[in-house]
């Protein structure tokens, strides 16, 4: 990033005799095109998602109609490159849109954006044919796809994965069980991480990625799991029983799977952070509106300092995590390495979302605990942000490890 500043004698600031400086390096403004994307996503979220969110949550109903509409407007699959029929936008644009969608309902946002996690490994390591076929399919139709890495016995402990892929001739035979797979019930294809090394192979070389079609024999999708929040989203167990994978569906070199699967997160953690920020922003806005009209002890409760403090804390958390998330997004869009930033953003935003939604329920008091008011859903929806896409604990490990790496790379 450029750090030059250009001194321009432009307009006078509010303080006399101080000339306004226009910085040409760091900018905190979105471009007017990005603002239009934001406006589109905002209108869609407020007008189409918000009115049905509570019902979708009650029924746990998969929002296919909203997905279809978002897809036709171009609000999904933003990373699919233009030569695959997509729009080829960056992580920053995805973040801006994710925040707006999540403001309406983070369950709907997850249903729409979980595609990105599955697509990222294909984007990073796919051959031109694989990209055209699998990413192109997503651009063409409002399908859903899944990233299948987690297992009942291995979430954070990816090196503990047991799903195996064995080479037989020019095919691979896949056997194993995955769990908590987003979109699984509706997935058209899966990115699957499977063990191809033996017990002695180091983690970094033990796994390979595959693209598995839903319709292949042996792919068994389990029942919908009923979760605390984001209930309209779809999470299930998936069993792979002697699924035959042609070698042309292997993603990247044998043994390179771990790196590919983890590399996806540099692109997907910032938008997930933005989703958390959308939930936090919604919590803040609902709490503020309520506090300005609810009266106790002779005044609107926003005038009680302890309530005002809660709102202030939400506002600070939101502003800070948004800036951190934008930085993580812009860094990777500009070709830089952003792994620790993406972790920082995801960790901070998810903590902010949890705190803000808990505090929003508090601001609403007894009403906050009740399902007729919107905030209890926000609190239930917020929790998962601290868990999926890498738990808060894993994010902290990544951040600390990066600090060590940075220190050791210097001669000081």
């Amino acid at each position: 990033m450029l750090c030059s500043t250009v001194r321009q004698a432009t307009k006078r600031s509010l303080v006399p005799n101080v000339q306004v400086r226009k910085h040409t390096g760091l900018s905190f403004e979105l471009t007017s095109e990005q603002k239009q994307f934001q406006e589109l996503a905002r209108s869609f979220a407020r007008e189409k998602i918000m009115p049905v969110a509570a019902q979708l949550d009650r029924d746990g109903q998969w929002p296919q109609e909203l997905i279809n509409e978002a897809h036709s407007l171009g609000l999904m699959n933003l990373h699919v490159p233009e030569d695959c029929g997509g729009i080829g936008l960056g992580v920053l644009e995805n973040c801006v849109i994710a925040e707006e969608l999540a403001y309406g309902c983070s369950g709907v946002m997850t249903a729409m954006l979980a595609n990105d996690l599955a697509q990222a490994p294909v984007f990073l390591a796919g051959t031109p044919e694989q990209k055209k076929k699998y990413l192109g399919r997503c651009a063409e139709e409002p399908i859903s796809v899944s990233y299948a890495v987690t297992e009942p016995g291995a979430g954070s402990d990816v090196s503990g994965l047991k799903t195996k892929a064995e080479k037989q001739g020019d095919k691979w035979i896949l056997n194993g069980q995955k769990m908590w797979i987003s979109n699984a019930g509706y997935a058209n294809w899966f990115f699957v991480l499977a063990r191809t090394g033996d017990a002695n192979t180091p983690t970094g070389k033990a796994f390979t990625g595959f693209i598995v079609e839903r319709e292949w024999a042996g792919v068994q999708v389990g029942r919908k799991e009923w979760n605390m929040g984001q209930r309209c989203a779809d999470t299930r167990g998936v069993v792979f029983d002697n699924v035959v994978i042609p070698d042309e569906n292997r993603l990247g070199p044998v043994g390179a799977g771990f790196k590919i699967a983890m590399g996806a997160f540099d692109h997907t953690r910032p938008p997930v952070a933005s989703g958390a920020i959308g939930v936090a922003q919604r919590a803040h806005d609902e709490a503020l509106a309520y506090a300005m009209q609810r009266k106790t002890m002779g005044k609107a409760i926003i005038e009680h300092q302890q309530v005002a403090a809660l709102i202030a804390e939400m506002a600070v958390g939101i502003e800070a995590s948004r800036l951190l998330t934008y930085k993580a997004a812009v860094t990777v869009d500009n070709g830089g390495k952003n792994t620790h930033m993406a972790s920082m953003a995801k960790y901070m935003a998810s903590e902010v979302a949890m705190k803000s939604t808990v505090d929003a329920v508090q601001v609403f008091g007894g009403n906050g605990f009740n399902t007729e008011y919107p905030v209890e859903k926000l609190m239930r929806d917020a929790k998962i942000f601290q868990i999926y896409e890498g738990t808060t604990q894993i994010q902290k490990l990544i951040i600390a490890r990066d600090a060590v790496t940075q220190k050791m790379s210097k001669n000081e």
């Binding site: 095109e33 239009q36 994307f37 171009g74």
Partner: protein
Amino acid sequence: MSLARVLVPVKRTVDYAVKIRVKPDNTGVETKNVKMSTNPFDEIAVEEAVKLKEKGLVKEVVAVTIGPKDAAEILRKLMAVGVDRSIHIETDEDLQPLAVAKVLKKVVEKENSDLVLLGKQAIDDDSCQTGQLLGGLLNWPQASFASEVNVEGGKAIVKREIDGGLETVSVQLPAVISADLRLNTPRYAKLKDIMAARKMTIDTSSLADWGVDTTPRFDVVSVQDPPTRAGGVKVESVQELVQKLKNDGVL
């Protein structure tokens, strides 16, 4: 008979969701650092024009705006929902409806438009005059407050919203039609169309180029907030009510 071009005049106004504030010197409404958007009735007019194009009744939708440099933003947004070409007449002057109508007449003549579709009024001044004045200057028939528009055989059949209900009129084209709220629901722009619109050219000119006398015909003396509502009073009986009305000089 296939229509050639529909012209949609659009105005950049304070966004409808903004709570407006009167300037301290009472000369007008504060617009600095205030969110601006396309006048909602003009968005409805654009949507109707695009629908006519989709029905094959119009070949090209052209939008025109008269306003400051920033007004080009609304043209970009409208090009993302189906406007094919746009014209930006730049000026920092605040034009009054008659001046606007005179400029639009010149645009209509230059563009050889067959139909002018615009919002019934702008939400900043609520004048509700430009469409009608334009019709008069062009000596074209007009149908205002349209809630439904059909075009067939060189005529427009328009359902108008009037105090008494709905009135259906038939106007010979070319004509001026002004859009009312219930005419349609403007569509969302698609992301790829937003991106494509950024690359489209806008035909920009300055107001002076059009050679129109735009001197104001009336002076705005002052702009004030409406008086704050006084609280109501409860009365105990009909007699008390009548007494109060008599005392206040109402009866």
